[in-house]
């Protein structure tokens, strides 16, 4: 599977450099949705906030957070240049309200905004973040005392909760095997 990523520059969908309020967010959302649906082969959208001066929580909720929730498990959205702590706080608050994780990458490291993985799945999540694609068997092999079934359960939970993406592959045995992808 040759999955691709694409950059979304949020500012290009806004009238100005400041985004606030549900009404403005709802005007921006359909254009974002068109952009995403127009790229069916793209699995991960890297959101750039270049040129966006300020956003409030309601605007955040109606735009990228809503998009991430809509495509949860199927397509992923992450920030690649979220440097402003105050703005990050607003994305975090909006994502938290919708229980939707949003990844933010900086210098090769990721952090989840909105919600954090549970203690039980944290190890599997950190393992998955270190590689673009992984399988339960790989995590089980690398983790002492971890069965493939247990690893598979953890990855499935992370996928359902929106922390990872998943694709169905054919295993060497001929059966179905899932590959899990980090968002970013």
């Amino acid at each position: 599977m040759n999955e691709t990523t694409e950059r979304i520059k949020l500012r290009n969908f806004m009238d100005g450099s400041e985004g606030w309020g549900r009404e403005q967010g709802r005007k921006v959302y359909p254009a974002l949705l068109d952009f995403v649906e127009g790229r069916p082969g793209v699995m991960v959208f890297k959101v750039s906030l270049e040129g966006v001066k300020r956003i409030d929580i309601s605007f955040a909720s109606e735009t990228i957070v809503e998009l991430a929730r809509r495509f949860r498990g199927n397509k992923g959205f992450c920030f690649v240049d979220l440097a402003d702590a105050d703005v990050a706080e607003n994305w975090d608050a909006a994502a938290s309200r919708k229980a939707q994780p949003l990844m933010s990458w900086s210098h090769g490291k990721a952090r989840a905004l909105g919600v954090s993985p549970s203690q039980g799945t944290l190890g599997a999540f950190e393992f998955a973040l270190q590689r673009p694609r992984t399988r339960a068997a790989e995590f089980a092999a690398a983790t002492q005392g971890m069965s493939i079934a247990n690893a598979s359960t953890k990855f499935k939970q992370l996928w359902e909760q929106g922390f990872l993406l998943r694709r169905e592959d054919v295993a060497e045995s001929g059966g179905v095997e899932y590959s899990y992808y980090r968002i970013g």
């Binding site: 606030w20 300020r54 409030d56 309601s58």
Partner: protein, 302 residues
Amino acid sequence: MDCNIQLPPRWVNAEALEDALRSAGPGPHGAVTTGFSFPIGCRVMIDAAVRLLSLCNQLDASTSRVRLDFEEGESGVMGYLSRMGFFDELSRNTEVMPSWPSISGAEVHAGSNPGLVEVARINHRARDQALPGRLTDAVVRACGRRRDAKDLGGAAFTVFAELIDNVFSHSETPLDGYAALQVYPKGDSLQVAVSDSGLGIMQTLRPAMKTQYPSLAHLSDTALLVEVFRQGLSRHGADRGCGLQGSAAKAIKYRADLDVRLPNTRVVLKPGKGGYQPATAHCHEHLPLIWGTHICFTFRLD
């Protein structure tokens, strides 16, 4: 019947305005003429000014006559209100003594006083997309010497944007709302006030309580209001309501007091450990009617 409201000869904040309204009996709504007297030495803080402005325009819209009597004329509080743009927004039917200001002080002084910004209109029919940013830029200008001016600006933007958006979403009134801020350098505080003349938060939230939040439906208005800011409640359900909650979360970093005036109730929330708490809320009920929702955050800048 006339209603005469005598303001005190000192700084008038929201509290002092309430005291003056209460001392005038049943209140101005229903009176044929309502007079407000501003004696020598009276100064009006921004939280009281926007509430007073909303109240005057409400009374005018309900066909009451309104008279403002400034004992000191333009050399006193009248000049101060003029500079903030009070008279630009006041209904022209209002009688002003000794006379209406000849020119708008806000136009003359616009931008020249870093501690004061004009009262800004929130017009339902023409959403001013730049409004929260303009008000925020004024905060950053006024607090430019502070190390945390940028962070303070970020917090102010969220508070303004969410409160103003709330006016558009909830107030359902033909009357304009108002947003204002003032930095008080001597008091080391910043006041951010947003006022509308529509339905109060409770009028829009209460009908949805039984379906959206049945476990909270029994709460008093005061307790419910605390939860609006603490955990975020919305008539639209659990994945909404983050705006006012987020505003409070930003303001609490600056140990901001939160003052909310509803049609007959006023609740003052003091920051405590873990945010605003019902136990430390001061509630005033059975107040003279002022339509709408009037919210003021007072940030501490020391």
